[in-house]
């Protein structure tokens, strides 16, 4: 069995054509629509818990409600004392290891836990200037640029599913990362597609590193 190469699958069925990217089955389709949705589930997702105001929090450098890029990772302050680190696919062991080292070095007295949730979350990205209009059909949070500026992170309900939202603009274009527990991923994706139909949404396939 040791030489078996296995492919990981997202909970979201990939649109044809299907290909393999860094060990994950992904969609290879491309869209030039002004509003696009991409299944980014293959991204590494590592969850960190630590005291919200302690040394580990300081070392991570991202407070609750904000997200910031560092060394190719996107660090998200997803809750008080709770962080989610997003990184390119296939790097979970490395990321978790680095975070554990950080905890040992910067906060040896604190109670810190680092858990790989790569397989536990579905993650999609919605990009386009009409992205807030799309999300306004599913989410009651004020997405005005002032209330949720680039880098804002919050947790809300989207189409009835508890979803973490990160505003992560791409090249000056509005973009949001949305993630929920894995089993609701297909439903969330379908809900976004259904609501986005009137806005001309298109499905864009995942391309590594994706973050």
């Amino acid at each position: 069995m040791s030489d078996v190469t296995i492919i990981a699958r997202s909970p979201i069925a990939p649109a044809a054509p299907v290909r393999v990217e860094t060990g994950w089955e992904v969609s290879g389709c491309r869209s030039d629509a002004a509003l696009t949705i991409t299944d980014c589930t293959p991204l590494t997702k590592v969850h960190v818990r630590a005291p919200w105001n302690g040394a580990m929090a300081k070392a991570l450098g991202v407070p609750f409600g904000l997200a910031a890029r560092e060394n190719g990772w996107l660090m998200v302050g997803s809750g008080p004392g709770e962080w989610l680190v997003l990184a390119p696919p296939g790097t979970a062991e490395h990321v978790a290891g680095r975070l554990t080292e950080t905890a040992a070095g910067s906060a040896p007295e604190e109670f810190v836990s680092v858990i790989d949730l790569t397989h536990g979350r579905a993650l999609v990205r919605v990009t386009g200037e009409q992205a807030p209009d799309l999300l306004a059909l599913l989410c009651g949070v004020d997405l005005d640029g002032d209330m949720t500026p680039d880098g804002a992170a919050f947790r809300s309900g989207l189409a009835g599913v508890a979803t973490d939202v990160v505003r992560d603009d791409r090249d000056g274009t509005r973009s949001y990362l949305l993630h929920c527990e894995r089993s609701s991923g297909q439903y969330l994706f379908d809900s976004l597609l259904g609501a986005g139909e009137s806005l001309g949404i298109g499905v864009d396939g995942f391309t590594a590193p994706g973050i």
């Binding site: 069995m1 040791s2 078996v4 190469t5 296995i6 492919i7 990981a8 699958r9 997202s10 909970p11 069925a13 994950w24 589930t41 969850h47 818990r49 407070p63 609750f64 409600g65 904000l66 302050g77 109670f111 836990s113 858990i115 790989d116 949730l117 790569t118 397989h119 536990g120 979350r121 306004a136 059909l137 599913l138 989410c139 009651g140 949070v141 004020d142 997405l143 005005d144 002032d146 209330m147 949720t148 500026p149 880098g151 804002a152 992170a153 919050f154 189409a159 009835g160 599913v161 527990e181 894995r182 089993s183 609701s184 297909q186 439903y187 809900s191 259904g194 609501a195 009137s198």
Partner: protein, 956 residues
């Protein structure tokens, strides 16, 4: 084909007309072809064609025509295609429309149901409290008769469904009303930096300016250009603010979407500016509902917006400038003015003569004037609904004969006619000030909100100019005097929708319903589609007169949302029904699993014959998808403390690699959840819960940690769907797993029952393997990183083919666990089942220092109270009692069947049951009453398990 005649259409265009004479089309009205122009409403086109009778009234089926020529016109509800209750005086005509009158038979002109008028004395207010009651055996007949008189259109069952997503909005300022005040307020607010949502009920902005004179039209153009040219204003026309709730949570309904759909917009506005204008009030007098009697605004709309003569010879009752302007417009339109009755100098109307149309009107003083049109202008109703919903109590001013706003909350302003009178410039000036002040207050709120948001901590997100602390002063508006004109010397219609006359109201008050709320409910006045907009002030005035009180003392009824009708489709929007899938769902579907809806999960119930699946588990190997099982990752030095607190049994000495079964009870000792928890590392545990209890148990753990033991170092992370979970069960399960597992010695000596290991399965690292079993056979529960779940499942099916592997579903699992006597929380227990009632005597450790539920369980143990869970078998093994069948002694219920199945393994029926403690002794015979009433004997078993009670098969 030549166009049908439009006898009442003006040949000369009107300066502000909204029809496009360059194009024309036709639609049908009760089968007749009617000509129209773009911009015509259904009613204006009908009026242009000379149609006068447009509907029949609700109760008495009296002929009705145009009254207000607006959305709220009570005589203009039509069936348009498959859409009922279309507001014909508002809906724009479209080519090919199929329009019908509603609830008339056989026709609008000859409506047999008008016979109701002959029974008028029996259909007075509250008649349904006094009639159609006895004899009760005739109720089915009464229902059939009354159904024929339901006054509404019909919705064909095959009407296509249109789903429109609801939308959330967060404007700084929401302006309700797009007349001159609303437009001015919106532009001023936007110019001051606010984001503005401007909502207007009609198709175009402008309010009364649209049918005004040259100066009004000039002001209209200017304001429309201003709104269009000011950035930051979203304009919604053909939309209505349906309700205002706490915190300026405002419902806006956007109409006119394709397919007749509506959209509900849920807006959280920092400021609400109420600028609805005024609604003209009808006058109550005999014959005031005869076709040809209409309001001044109706006449002016028809003439100036649609170039339609509302009649040929008119009498006008005027008490204000609107009535005077109507006289001028009528003259310009070529209508002969047979009389102007000035109420300001004591003039009045007495009664209208005519039935299907006005023939003459009798004025005070005795003269009767022949005419076909009676126009009234007797005053205004302030639509204060949104103010009332904001907590305001408007007050009545007899000088102006209408209500005015009282004290408004900080986040609501009122402007325009609802706030006062004055010249156009005065009103616009007031509105501009209101807009600027609304923007100022909104900016202040925005600053306060920003300061609280984590996204703006430490200066992230940039700076924002501070809000201006200096309030904008709203100028005082004059209040013009207006005579109080509500009812003439005769009785007439008050509520046109409900066919309630002033005489009905007086009668109701005479019967003792002498408050306006009681009179409303007894007569149904203000309870129809117009919801009081046209009739509430008249009703209050008549009630006041009848009770000898003032209007102020009488008060009004309560304005409640929605302000205007909302379709159920808008309220429903797109249904959000989250569905959860296992990673192996594609395999289940392709292998024809019957789906079971288990909460939000879709699970495979069976793939074929559950009995065959059971047999495979007992004799070969089978695999079930148990991904929905709750899984919580627990880390920290205090995890044993948490487990000891929340489970009824002991956890301090659980070694690494060991698994223990646990039961949680709530503080009242009731069984809450069960599952196994395994220790994966020094401070690392994995807890499993029931599928349906996963979220509740997570919340339970967090609740205790955060509120009672924040000092404990424990992190709980839900990983239910991080793992694809599958149970490989059967005598050949070890042999199969040995083929696909690396890094784990699966031999019984190395990996005995109730232990846990981690390793690689089918090439997937990070798998957790539990040696546990719900089925009673040698089995392994695999938890695989979810992305690899389908691969591992398919590998098992492939590598186990020669072993006869089959999938088994939830139904087979239920049979297997019942054979083994494993109870299911919520199936074999209920909301009152304490621990000892669930046969958990062996698990409950009352010698623990403390745990949740201990006191109650200690009491239960001491007094022996509560039923007992037992295994039960009917004497006749071919009878499978329905679950929940009662266990009885005579007529007394002494227990119930909680689980029941035919056991393929034993070839007989088996059950679990709750019985009174005295009946729980093995061998006791009890009587089961089946749902149809038959009683059968059954016997209490020695064990809960009907098969392999020693559990030897699991431990091989």
């Amino acid at each position: 084909m030549s166009a049908p005649p439009t006898t009442m259409r003006l040949a000369t265009p009107r300066p502000g007309e909204e029809i496009d004479r360059a194009r024309s089309f036709t639609f049908t009205w009760n089968g007749r072809t009617i000509a129209a122009f773009p911009g015509d409403t259904i009613v204006s086109a009908l009026a242009a064609s000379g149609e006068r009778v447009l509907s029949r009234s609700y109760k008495y089926h009296r002929p009705r025509g145009v009254l207000t020529a607006s959305y709220h016109d009570p005589g203009c509800f039509f069936q348009v295609g498959d859409e009922p209750n279309v507001r014909g005086a508002h809906r724009l005509a479209e080519p090919g429309m199929d329009v019908h009158s509603q609830d008339t038979w056989p026709s609008l002109r000859f409506d047999v149901k008008a016979v109701n008028q002959l029974a008028g004395r029996f259909l007075g207010p509250g008649f349904y409290y006094k009639t159609f009651i006895k004899p009760q055996r005739l109720w089915p007949l009464y229902e059939r008769v009354l159904q024929r008189f339901v006054h509404a259109g019909h919705v064909p069952p095959d009407t296509p469904r249109v789903t429109v997503d609801k939308r959330y909005a967060h404007p700084d300022v929401l302006v309700a009303g797009g007349g001159p005040a609303g437009m001015a307020a919106a532009a001023a607010a936007a110019a001051a930096g606010a984001s503005v949502l401007l909502v207007e009920e009609e198709y175009r902005l402008g309010g009364h300016l649209r049918w005004g004179g040259d100066a009004d039209l000039a002001a209209l153009r200017e304001l429309r250009e201003l709104v269009a040219g000011t950035p930051g204003i979203e304009v919604l026309t053909n939309s209505v603010v349906a309700g205002r709730y706490d915190g300026n949570w405002i419902a806006v309904v956007r109409r006119g979407l394709p397919g007749g759909a509506e959209q509900l917009i849920k807006a959280r506005a920092r400021m609400l500016v109420v600028a609805p204008g005024l609604i003209e009030r009808p006058y109550v007098f005999a014959g005031n509902d005869v076709p040809g009697v209409m309001l001044a605004t109706a006449a002016r709309r028809l003439i100036n917006l649609h170039a339609v003569k509302p009649g040929r010879r008119a009498v006008v009752l005027t008490a204000n400038a609107e009535g005077d302007a109507a006289v001028a417009d009528l003259r310009e339109a070529g209508v002969e003015i047979a009389g102007v009755v000035d109420a300001r100098t004591g003039g009045d109307l007495v009664r209208v003569h005519g039935h299907r149309g006005v023939r003459a009107v009798e004025v005070a003083g005795g003269d009767t004037i022949e005419c076909d049109l009676v126009v009234t202008a007797v005053g205004w109703t302030a639509p204060t609904a949104l103010l009332n919903m904001s907590g305001d109590q408007p007050t009545y001013d007899p000088r102006a004969a209408r209500f005015f706003p009282g004290a408004l909350p900080e986040d609501v302003l009122a402007t325009g006619g609802i706030a006062g009178d004055g010249t156009r410039d005065q009103l616009i000036g007031h509105a501009e000030a209101a807009g600027r002040e609304a923007a100022r207050r909104a900016a202040r709120q925005r600053s306060q909100t920003r300061a609280m948001l984590p996204a703006h901590a430490n200066g992230h997100g940039g700076s924002w100019p501070p809000a201006d602390e200096q309030p904008v002063r709203l100028p005082e508006l004059p209040v013009d005097p207006h005579p109080e004109l509500f009812r003439a010397s005769t009785h007439g219609m008050v509520d046109f929708c409900e066919d309630v006359s002033s005489k009905d109201l007086v009668t109701a008050i005479g019967e003792g319903y002498d408050s306006i709320e009681l009179a409303k409910r007894y007569t149904t006045a203000t309870m129809g589609p117009t919801q009081g907009k046209l009739e509430v002030v008249n009703a209050v005035a008549i009630a006041a007169q009848a009770t000898g009180r003032t209007i102020g003392e009488t008060g009004t009824t309560t304005w409640r949302p929605p302000y205007a009708p909302v379709t159920l489709g808008a309220l429903a929007g797109r249904p959000w029904e989250p569905v959860r899938y296992s990673p192996m769902q594609p395999w289940h579907e392709s292998h024809h699993a019957s789906p079971l809806i288990a909460g939000a999960w879709i699970r495979p119930d069976r793939y074929g014959d559950p009995a065959a699946e059971v047999a495979a588990v007992r004799t070969k190997v089978a695999v079930i998808d148990v991904t929905p099982l709750g899984k919580l990752d627990l880390r920290g030095p205090d995890v044993p403390n948490l487990l000891n607190l929340l489970y009824v049994n002991k956890w301090s000495k659980l070694e690494i690699g060991r698994v223990r079964y646990g039961v949680m009870c709530t503080e009242d000792g009731v069984v809450f959840d069960d599952g196994v928890t395994g220790r994966l590392g020094p401070e690392h545990y994995l807890m499993s819960t029931t599928s349906s209890g996963a979220a509740a148990v997570w919340e339970w753990l967090e609740n205790w940690l955060q509120t009672t033991h924040p000092d404990w170092a424990v992190h709980v992370t839900p990983v239910t769907t991080a793992y694809a979970s599958m149970n490989v069960a059967g005598p050949a399960s070890r042999e199969l797993l040995e083929r696909v597992t690396e890094g784990v010695d699966l031999a019984n000596e190395a990996f005995p029952y109730m232990q846990v290991r981690t390793g690689r399965v089918a090439g997937a690292d990070g798998c957790v393997l539990w040696r546990i079993g719900f089925t009673g056979e040698l089995s392994y529960e695999l938890h695989v990183p979810a992305g690899y779940g389908l691969h591992v499942w398919e590998t098992l099916m492939d590598r186990g083919a020669d072993l006869g592997i089959v999938p088994f579903g939830v139904e087979a699992q239920r049979i297997l666990r019942l054979e083994k006597g494993h109870f299911i929380v919520g199936q074999d227990t209920d909301g009152l089942t304490r621990g000892f009632s669930a046969a958990l005597d062996w698990a409950i450790k009352l010698d623990k220092t403390d745990f949740v539920g201990k006191p109650e369980l200690a009491w239960q143990n001491a007094d022996g109270g509560g039923p007992r869970l037992v295994g039960l078998q009917p004497d006749d093994g071919t009878v499978v009692p329905a679950e929940a069948s009662q266990i009885v002694e005579g007529q007394r219920i002494v227990g119930r069947i909680t689980s029941s199945r035919m056991s393929p393994t034993l070839g007989r029926s088996i059950c679990l049951a709750q019985v009174e403690p005295r009946l729980a002794k093995p061998g006791t015979q009890v009587t089961v009453r089946l749902p149809a009433g038959r009683r059968i004997p059954a016997r209490v078993c020695e064990h809960l398990a009907h098969f392999d009670p020693d559990g030897s098969r699991m431990r091989v």
